[in-house]
Subunit: 178 residues, 2 copies
Amino acid sequence: MAKTDFKKHIRTVPHFPKKGVMFRDITTLLKDANALKEVADEMAGYYLKKPYSIDKVVSAESRGFIFGAILAKELHAGFVPLRKPGKLPAKTIREEFDTEYSKDAFEIHEDAIQKGDKCIICDDLLATGGTSKAAIRLVEKLGGEVKSLFFLIELEFLNGKEKLKGYDVFSLVKYDKE
Amino acid sequence: MAKTDFKKHIRTVPHFPKKGVMFRDITTLLKDANALKEVADEMAGYYLKKPYSIDKVVSAESRGFIFGAILAKELHAGFVPLRKPGKLPAKTIREEFDTEYSKDAFEIHEDAIQKGDKCIICDDLLATGGTSKAAIRLVEKLGGEVKSLFFLIELEFLNGKEKLKGYDVFSLVKYDKE
């Protein structure tokens, strides 16, 4: 259990980005130096206890970059961005996926992952799991090994974890209903 | 002077995103754990020597988030994202600006900065300075004090620094020609 009640730092904005959705706004947590430090310590602490060491932390734009970059630094790993189509300048592979709201795709540089690299996929939010599943496919296509997935927030009622069966999933804050 | 030659880790991709542009690709640096750590140490080291302490690190999506988040963690500051219009869920203010390639705008949450907050604006790239100038206006409108701007890369031939006169600017890697 985390010492801090991270939920206290997360603002809920009703009806964003569309009617009926309770948006979990993490900017109120990010701007709090102590809360941000504690998230970093919790993330890193969890992985530093593992028997493996991590080569790459992989994160999707844009909010995923925030925790992914910090985690990479803390674990002394490299950082690999997944980006919307057309943003990465060198040779890429692409995966399409469905999100809670839309259809989308991510690309990864072909040379971002070496065969056998131990990877964490790091994102702010686990919703339906579509984004994460695409991230897993991209990493595995390049020969990387997905050791774990980290999420700041897990929306348990969307059952995203079902899509990630067989993978270690660590989330700091869970919401069991909308 | 940095011990590491960071330029060695930056890949140049000609004609991206359009003909005639030499794109400086930082993904090759990010994926290298040692280079990423050294960037983090250089950034933090520069600011830890200053006589002030930083309350907020402010960064524009998406690549800016990577270094901004790490710097916020290293300085024990809060992190404030600037986002494209419509992405932030609570009350925002907006600034428009011209980039090297286009016209665009950023928003910031009104409650992201407290009056008197000492801020660093952190981005991957200083090009024409349009983005940074908009970031400065947003922070200052909310009563924050811009103590410094950090860039991983400065494209000196675009004279972005001219737009930032009167502000402390720290960039790790400089290109004096396209």
